[in-house]
């Protein structure tokens, strides 16, 4: 009501504002604290290494998803793209060799992401619909390529790549963190990254300023598809097999992780830091529950409940920091 805010209440506002904008770290801290108390195995080096690796797969998907979400879009096809790149990376090895096969897998992700981007940008269709179609269709392509059974790698030394570690950090986890850090830098320091916020925040202003929105979105979807392919390659190295159902539902977990972290579905707001927080919180929760030998259903129910609580928290915090 009054436009005068005293210096003190302005200070309180900024602390609350920070909390509101970064609440995932509270969650993560809480989760870690709870599980370290509940299980002696939780804070061991070995387990932490596992948590990092397990979370990294969704994490790499989440890096791409975060970019697309800040743009105000969504990509439901990342799980399917992951499956296709896994299948190609393994399936083509005999014909063209290991590294060309891996490259083919990556290229497929980039190409499909590009396709999603082009359709979204040029048709004006909402990316929800475009990528829903892709989710269904690309899964079909996977099955057509692999048949109903999993493909297996011929030369099992391929799986040794997944065994590369830097101390306790596996190459998968390392890739996740490096990608997240790289794209966080892109978001804050490059024109493309800042334009992502501009477009997600106020698309008319961005358009009037001459920003090429179509090209921008195509780039982000291509990146998202490529990230899904990277995750797929790493998965293939870990498992040595390519299941046609690989990555099923993973897009949903990815969305959960990104939104849990605090990036907004509506666009214009988010960061890779938040995504790292969300991914790790999810990984800690799942790992912790498994360590406690809780039955499968607990994990699923807890995930659902935590997500809803996070939404409620978000709602409460935002109503308190509303300026008008």
């Amino acid at each position: 009501m009054t436009r005068n805010t005293s210096a003190q209440s302005r200070h309180t506002n900024s602390t609350v504002t920070w909390l509101f904008r970064n609440h995932i770290w509270l969650f993560l801290g809480l989760a870690i604290a709870i599980f370290s108390l509940a299980s002696p195995y939780f804070l061991t080096v070995n387990n932490i290494s596992n948590v990092l690796t397990q979370g990294a797969f969704i994490g790499i998907l989440a890096v791409g998803m975060t970019l697309v979400m800040i743009d105000g879009e969504i990509d439901l096809s990342v799980g399917a793209i992951l499956a296709l790149s896994t299948a190609l990376a393994i399936g083509l090895q005999e014909q063209i060799g290991v590294w060309p096969a891996v490259l083919a897998g990556l290229a497929s992700g980039a190409a499909l992401g590009f396709l999603n981007g082009v359709i979204t940008a040029f048709s004006g269709m909402h990316s929800f619909i475009v990528t829903l179609g892709a989710l269904i269709g690309i899964r079909g392509i996977v099955f057509i390529y692999t048949g109903e059974d999993a493909l297996m790698v011929q030369d099992f030394s391929y799986t040794e790549y997944a065994e590369i570690y830097l101390g306790p950090v596996s190459i998968t986890a390392l890739t996740f963190f490096l990608l997240a850090l790289f794209f966080q830098w892109v978001l804050t320091s490059t024109r493309h990254g800042r334009e992502t916020f501009a477009i997600g925040d106020n698309i008319e202003a961005a358009h009037d300023a001459g920003i090429n929105i179509k090209r921008h979105k195509i780039i982000n979807f291509t990146i998202c598809g490529t990230m899904a392919a990277v995750a797929g390659i790493l998965l293939s190295m870990r498992l040595g097999t390519a299941e046609p159902n690989a990555g099923k539902i993973w897009e949903l977990w990815t969305i959960i992780a990104v939104v849990l972290g605090g990036t907004r579905l509506t666009g214009g707001f988010g960061s890779m830091w938040k995504t790292i927080g969300g991914v790790m919180t999810l990984a800690v929760l799942r790992n912790g529950l498994r360590l406690l030998n809780t039955p499968n259903y607990v994990e699923l129910m807890v995930m659902g409940a935590v997500l809803i609580l996070a939404l409620l928290l978000d709602r409460v915090l935002s109503s308190q920091t509303e300026a008008r």
Partner: protein
Amino acid sequence: MSNQTPILTINKVTKTFPGVVALDKVSFDIRPGEVHALVGENGAGKSTLMKVLAGLYKADAGEIIYQGSAVEIASPLDARHQGILLIHQELSISPELSVAENIFLGAWPTNRFGILRKSKLNKDAQSALTALGADFGPSVRLGTLSIAKQQMVEIARANAFEANVVIFDEPTASLTDTEKDLLFATIRKLRDRGVGIVYISHKMDEIFDLTDRITVLRDGQVQGTVQTEESDVGQITQMMIGRELETFFHRAKSTLGSEVLRVEGLTNTRHFRDVSLSVRQGEVLGLYGLVGAGRSELVETIFGVRTMDAGEIYWQGQPTGRLTPRKATDLGMALVPESRKEQGLILGQGGRANISLPHPSMFSRATVMNVAAEMRVFDTYKKQLEIKTTGPEQALSDLSGGNQQKFVLAKWLCADPKLIILDEPTRGIDIGSKSAIHELIAGLAENGLAVIVISSEMPEVLGVSHRILTMSEGRMVGQFSGDEMTEKNLIEAVSHRADGVLASV
């Protein structure tokens, strides 16, 4: 002092849309270092002309001469590069980006790899900000600033891009008095720098305060261009509407009946505090105040859209308890809200469906809709309010503002309310419909309705009301009736806070 050679000349520009000639051989010019007002009722062509200048539309005929030579303005970015900048009513900003990033949106300095050169960006932004006397820096997130400061950031683009012409479209719509002073100071600074400024507004007090020349548009044609010093409100209004101001407003000649609504100590902690008022049958109660005073929030709280934190509402003498729009409607209240697009109508639907929405029991039998009844009521009001529409199913988004507003009225009047609250009922409406609405308001009061009218237009509120309440910063600060209802009294009332101190930020 302004240079006499125009920097921008619009020469016989014509722009047509299917079915309407928006601009008809319009010619006028802007000189460097002058503030040139562009006035006219909605539909007169101001916004079309402005969009042509800013590169959003292309003229069908005529030429634009800028800095001595004929130019084509292909897009807003092109306009900006040439030095013509448009400041919309809805700010063209991204709250998540920094001030500097907003100023230079679309033109950020980068190196070869697309990496932002932040120090150059911030330095350039700072000089633009300093030239405006801004008290904030280039790297703060825009979302943390007030609306007035955000507007300053947009204006800073003028300095940043070395604009020669800046067009302001109703810039004071959301500003408090002090913020308006800040804006005017900024505009004057730009003018002194030699920028030619086009100032689009319908607020006469601002125009006569700020501008050097005034061009009046009516129905897409220029009625004339005058020196502000040599003109007055009466002449301008006459040019705008083609008839005298006095016949513009109608005050109802009604007999006042019993009290219909009374509120005591009404409070919504975020927006207003301890407000009391009452209104009787046949009475037109005006509610005047500046933007931000809390008037809309007040009536929305009475109607039940917003929550009531404290106070009592009495309907026909009986306490109502907390209201919801449903309860309020059933009691006999009606609210014609401030924004017809967002709050008043479902633009994707036709008139028939819109009219019946608040009154399910009136238009249904055992929850099944009675389409015949809807059609009848539609036809009744189409005739009565003279609404121009092709039929009951024509999407309301196709209609003009005035016709849309008539549907909002129809929607409430069809249920014979006892109280109707109108929030800025003639904002953004063409002159013909405006006058019709004023007649309607008088007619309603004469028929025994209690009417509350919120208006920010002094002449309007003075013209239609029997009694005027003034609000300032969430408080009721004055009540005037009869001879007390003068411009001077109203302005004085709203310039002060409830405690008598001059209102300031």
